[in-house]
Structures are given as structure tokens and as C-alpha cells.
């Protein structure tokens, strides 16, 4: 989401904040660039100066030394209220004006900027829709809304005058996890539409990884420990502090960043449950596939093993290349050819491939948009060693544990 021209929206240079009476600076010599259109998450333990840093961008806190340029201009040169009107601001406690209706709350900055009334009300209606609130919410008072709805109003208010930059201070810490996840998703969807430069402060590394195009990890005293893309942070933490902050599940978190369509899936061949192991192997070898998907083509789907009178021996029907019937069956098993060969050699010939399947070991079916972390979970739960990619019919593909491991390299 970085702007193509790589323009710098916020440029922080050697920024220091020493509070009077504090033994050491809250922020010390911080230098950081935020590209236009980028979401940057400032994350770190409490006392790392992340909120102080954020508030110095719109001068709610004045720096002790150092400079901040906003869109190429030194922000200390502007009158402070003008600077703030050009920067959206969202805080954890929301801070809606309780004596103003939702519409009046959203219209605050446009009114300060002297927009005509008609333009303000049109903009308010547009924003209510953008953040997913009903149009009649505008007439209500903030206290009549739920916490999640209030937070949406807070975002709408921050975006009202279409500021190029949005600052968010722990915006979702006060809402419950379900609402938080939804608000985060909504913010990402919103950002895809509006393409703002967003600086978001959070203490939650998962939120930082989820929302940030880049993540700045701050250590105690506002020292920048590492500033990188989430994937790079997780792949190569700069030091022990960053590694500890990221936690022990770095690989799992990286898997959470990738989707199914970003990894190499390998082909599988589909056979009917009534085919024999030898037939299945022949079909797989014919296609060079290492995996066999066992399909139950029975209409009832409930007695796959004692249904002998169908055309299961005619495995051409299930080779996934030329038959209308292909894909009509439910996948009931997923078997590696290596396993089939092992059983063949062990003399377990005869009987159908369906007979050899363990019941309740249905292969997990995932689709292209799934995060790999969820794929891994599904694979581990199923015990099949791989997952079927469901929306690539009729040619079947599987994602194996090996492929997941390869994605992390």
C-alpha cells in the first residue's frame, strides 16, 4: 500500500521528549519515515514512548528537540490548530462530544474549516455509510450507541475533512475481542478505499502485524529497536528484545500473513472410493501426482463402503480430466501415493481404497483466501498431512506441510 512515488508523509528526525522531572527521556533521538499511503504501527511495551511519539506528530505534545515534517513541511511552522485540522486523530477512549449528535460530532472539523452547511451534511452522510453506520445514527447522541459504533463515529470524525494523515492511539484496546477483530478488518477495508497515511499506536503485537504495512518496535525510552515489514520482523528479529516482544510463535504469525494463493500447491488425482489402491496409484502416476483424493460419489453420502454396484472400477471417471461427473463427489480421504505404495507392498491388495480409509479423517478443504496459519491448523486437526484447495476444481490441488514450511523460508 506504499504510494508508488514513495513520497514521505511523515518524517521524524532525531526526536526527543524529556518530560520535566522525569529521570530519562520518554523518547530519545527517534528517526522514522512514514511513506504516503502506508500504515505504520508503533508498538512496544508501556513506557516505550509510542503514544508520546504519536502526540508529537500533531503537537498535542511539544518535542524537546528534533523535528517532524508533515507532507514536506515543518509542522512547527504552522499554527497548531491549523496543523491539527489537517490530521485525523482517533483515540482509545474515543472522546466523542457527548452533548453533540453523532452528525455534529462528525462535522466538527469541516465546521471549523468553514465548509457550507449542505456540504457538511452530505459529507456526514457519506462518512456514516463509509464506516458502516445506518444513516439515522446521525441524529442520535453518542451515549445511545454501542462502544463499537462509537468507535466507528470516532473514525468518521477523524476522516471528516479528508485529512491525508490519520493518527490512531490504541483505537481498539477498549472494545471486546470480537468487535476489535471486526473493527480491524473494517479499517483495512476502509484503508483500501481511502489510502490514507496511517500511524497507529498499539501495545498488541498481533494488531500491529495485522494492520501495519510496516511495524516500528520501540524499546524503553523511545529507542527504535526495529522498523520493518511484519514478515521481515518475524523472519529476522534484530535483537533479543525484538524477538522476545514478538513472542515464541513467530513462524505461526508469519503463516498468518500469507494466503493459500501465495504458496505452491501440488496436483492431486481424484479417484472414487470404490477404486482399488492399484488403480488409484496408476491414475496418480499417470498424472505425476503424489496425492490421491478419494471421492465418495454415492448420492446418500452415508454408506460409502458397502456400495459395490456402481462404476467404481472405471476410474477414468475420476481422473479429473475429462468427465462431467468429476468433482461431484465429496472428498472423504486424502492419501499420499507413498502411503499407498507402502500398503501395496505390505500385501494389502484387494478391497477398495475407500475400505482402507480411516473414518472421520476427512481432508480439510481450504480456499485461496485462507491465511496459511488457519490451513496449518486444519491440516494438523485432520491428521491427513495436507489440505485440499477447494476452489480449484476439477483439477485438484493440495497444500502439504512441506509447502507450508517452504513458505517460511
Amino acid at each position: 500500500m506504499v504510494a508508488a512515488d514513495g513520497e514521505i508523509a511523515v518524517s521524524i528526525r532525531d526526536l526527543t521528549k524529556q518530560y520535566p522531572g522525569a529521570p530519562s527521556p520518554a523518547v530519545r533521538g527517534l528517526t522514522l519515515d512514514v511513506a504516503a499511503g502506508e500504515v505504520v504501527a508503533l508498538v512496544g511495551p508501556s513506557g516505550c514512548g509510542k503514544t508520546t511519539t504519536l502526540k508529537m506528530i500533531n503537537r498535542l505534545i511539544e518535542p524537546t528537540s528534533g523535528s517532524i515534517q508533515v507532507l514536506g513541511r515543518d509542522q512547527a511552522a504552522l499554527p497548531v490548530h491549523e496543523l491539527r485540522r489537517s490530521i485525523g486523530y482517533v483515540i482509545q477512549q474515543i472522546g466523542l462530544f457527548p452533548h453533540r449528535t453523532v452528525a455534529a460530532n462528525i462535522g466538527v472539523v469541516p465546521r471549523l474549516l468553514g465548509w457550507p452547511k449542505a456540504q457538511i451534511s452530505a459529507r456526514v452522510a457519506e462518512l456514516l455509510a463509509l464506516v458502516g453506520l445506518p444513516a439515522d445514527a446521525g441524529r442520535r447522541y453518542p451515549s445511545e450507541l454501542s462502544g463499537g459504533q462509537q468507535q466507528r463515529v470516532g473514525v468518521a470524525r477523524a476522516l471528516a475533512a479528508d485529512p491525508p494523515i490519520l493518527l490512531m492511539d490504541e483505537p481498539y484496546s477498549a472494545v471486546d475481542p470480537l468487535v476489535r477483530a471486526r473493527l480491524q478488518d473494517d479499517l483495512l477495508a476502509l484503508q483500501a478505499q481511502v489510502g490514507k497515511t496511517i500511524v497507529i499506536v498499539t501495545h498488541d503485537i498481533d494488531e500491529a502485524i495485522k494492520l501495519g504495512d510496516r511495524v516500528a518496535i520501540l524499546a524503553q525510552g523511545g529507542v527504535l529497536a526495529q522498523y520493518d515489514t511484519p514478515d521481515e520482523l518475524l523472519r529476522a528479529p534484530a535483537d533479543d528484545f525484538v524477538a522476545a516482544f514478538l513472542g515464541r510463535e513467530r513462524s505461526l504469525r508469519r503463516l498468518g500473513l500469507r494466503r493459500v494463493d501465495e504458496v505452491r500447491a501440488e496436483p492431486a488425482v481424484a479417484v472414487a472410493a470404490t477404486a482399488t489402491a492399484a488403480e488409484a496409484l496408476a491414475a496418480a502416476d499417470g498424472m505425476g501426482a503424489r496425492w490421491v483424493v478419494v471421492l465418495d460419489n454415492d448420492n446418500d453420502n452415508d454408506n460409502d463402503n458397502d456400495n459395490d454396484n456402481d462404476d467404481g472400477t472405471d476410474n477414468d471417471n475420476y481422473d479429473g480430466t475429462d468427465n462431467d461427473n468429476t468433482g461431484a463427489g465429496e472428498p472423504v480421504g486424502l492419501v499420499a501415493t507413498a502411503e499407498l505404495r507402502h500398503h501395496s507392498r505390505a500385501g494389502a491388495v484387494g478391497g477398495t481404497i475407500g475400505d482402507g480409509l480411516e473414518p472421520d479423517r476427512r481432508p480439510p478443504v481450504v480456499d485461496a483466501t485462507w491465511p496459511l496459519r488457519e490451513v496449518l491448523d486444519a491440516v494438523l486437526r485432520s491428521g491427513c498431512g495436507a489440505a485440499l484447495v477447494g476452489d480449484r476444481m476439477p483439477a485438484r490441488c493440495v497444500i502439504t506441510l512441506d509447502a507450508l514450511a517452504e513458505a517460511l523460508r
Binding site: 498535542l60 477512549q93 453533540r100 447522541y141 450507541l145
Partner: protein, 235 residues
């Protein structure tokens, strides 16, 4: 000291009036006085509240802006508030003589503590995130005060106004000792002549006025803070 009321009444009539606490006949003969004393009482009260509010607003603004001044301002206000009212009027007479402004100086001095405390408490009571949001939206300091802090402080300020109004309405009767007492004139007259009817009348009217003003302010507050009554919705 004040206008002699019914001083020409017959001795016999006077004696009969003393038998009951309230002589309705006397009251009906003095409805004109009731009206003029009401006007006087309301005038004294309104001027005292307006002046007191103006002076207190300036002091409260100073206290909010420079927090160190808050304690000294409330000390002075407390001292003024605790001087017995009759004593204060008595101390003022040699300086400012008998008259309207002598009464007002004393009345105003009693409102200062109430107003300053409530204005400051009201502004302090505005939630910090709301103030932070107002700053971050780009309100200037004055705009923030006018558009955010004062409206939200209004319930507390009106609460102070109600206390001050009731206090002043009661004290105005005492101001009769400096010749400007509204209903207090009835009370002094009754005391002078050992005649209970004007005493009861003055006290009753004073209480009635206080109760009316208090209720009126409570209604005004409700009308001015529609947001405070709307609660709930989905949470």
C-alpha cells in the same frame, strides 16, 4: 425604620389581629405592598446573581488557567461566605451607607464561593479524552471552552446557580436592615410592632420565591441538556 404599615389601625383592631397567627384581612389590604416588595426582592436577587456570576466567571477563568490561584480564591470566597450576614451589612453601613449597593455588595460576596467552585468543578469534570479530542480536532482554546467545556459544565454550573439563587433570596430579607430588603421589610415591620402576620407573610413569600426560582432553573437545565437524558441504545 421602614415604611410603617397600617400604622393608623385602630387599637381594638390591632388587638384582635394578634389573636391569630395570620390576619388575612391585613394581607388583603396590603396586596400592593406584596407586589412592590416582590419586585424589589427579585431585583436585588437578579442583580446580585448577575454580578456575582460575572465576577466569579473571571475568577474561575483565572483559577482554571493558573491552577495556583484556585486555593487563594476559594479561601477569600470562604471567608466572605462565613461572615454572618447581619454583621457584614453592619460593617458596610459606615462605609457605603444605607442603600441598594450596600445590599448588593454583601449579597454578591456570598455568591462568589458557590459560583467559583461550581464553574471550576464543571470545567474540571469534562472528561480528559473529550478535551484531548477537541484539541486534536483543531479547536482553539477559546473555541474549546465555548463549544465543548462550557456546555458540558452546564449542569454543574446550573447546580451552583440554584444554590446561589436560593441563598441570595434568603439573604435579601436580611438586607432589610440596610433599607433594601424586599420581603424582609415585612418581617422587620412585624418584629417592630410585635405583629406576626407580616413576619409570616415575608417568610412565606421568600420561601415561595426561592422554591419557584429553583424549580425554574431545574427545568431550564433539563431543556438545555437534552443529551443528558438520552441513554442506552445497544451496548
Amino acid at each position: 425604620m421602614t415604611v410603617p404599615l397600617a400604622a393608623t389601625g385602630a387599637v381594638v383592631a390591632q388587638a384582635s389581629r394578634r389573636d391569630t397567627l395570620v390576619s388575612w384581612g391585613w394581607v388583603s389590604e396590603h396586596l400592593d405592598d406584596v407586589w412592590s416588595r416582590t419586585v424589589e426582592h427579585v431585583q436585588l436577587t437578579l442583580v446580585a446573581l448577575a454580578l456575582g456570576f460575572a465576577v466569579s466567571s473571571a475568577l474561575a477563568a483565572l483559577a482554571v488557567r493558573h491552577r495556583r490561584t484556585f486555593a487563594p480564591i476559594t479561601w477569600i470566597g470562604s471567608i466572605l461566605y462565613t461572615i454572618p450576614s447581619v454583621a457584614l451589612f453592619g460593617m458596610l453601613i459606615p462605609v457605603t451607607g444605607l442603600g441598594f449597593w450596600t445590599a448588593e455588595i454583601a449579597l454578591v460576596s456570598y455568591t462568589i464561593l458557590i459560583f467559583v467552585r461550581n464553574i471550576v468543578a464543571g470545567i474540571d469534570g469534562v472528561p480528559a479524552p473529550v478535551v484531548e479530542a477537541a484539541d486534536a480536532m483543531g479547536y482553539t482554546r477559546w473555541q474549546r471552552l465555548r463549544a465543548v467545556e462550557l456546555p458540558l459544565a452546564l449542569p454543574t454550573i446550573v447546580a451552583g446557580l440554584r444554590i446561589a439563587a436560593v441563598t441570595v433570596i434568603g439573604l435579601v430579607t436580611v438586607a432589610a436592615v440596610v433599607g433594601n430588603g424586599g420581603y424582609g421589610a415585612f418581617i422587620l415591620d412585624g418584629l417592630d410592632r410585635d405583629f406576626p402576620t407580616p413576619i409570616v407573610l415575608g417568610a412565606a413569600l421568600s420561601v415561595l420565591l426561592a422554591a419557584t426560582v429553583d424549580a425554574g432553573l431545574a427545568l431550564a437545565e433539563r431543556a438545555l441538556t437534552p443529551w443528558a437524558r438520552r441513554r442506552g441504545g445497544e451496548r
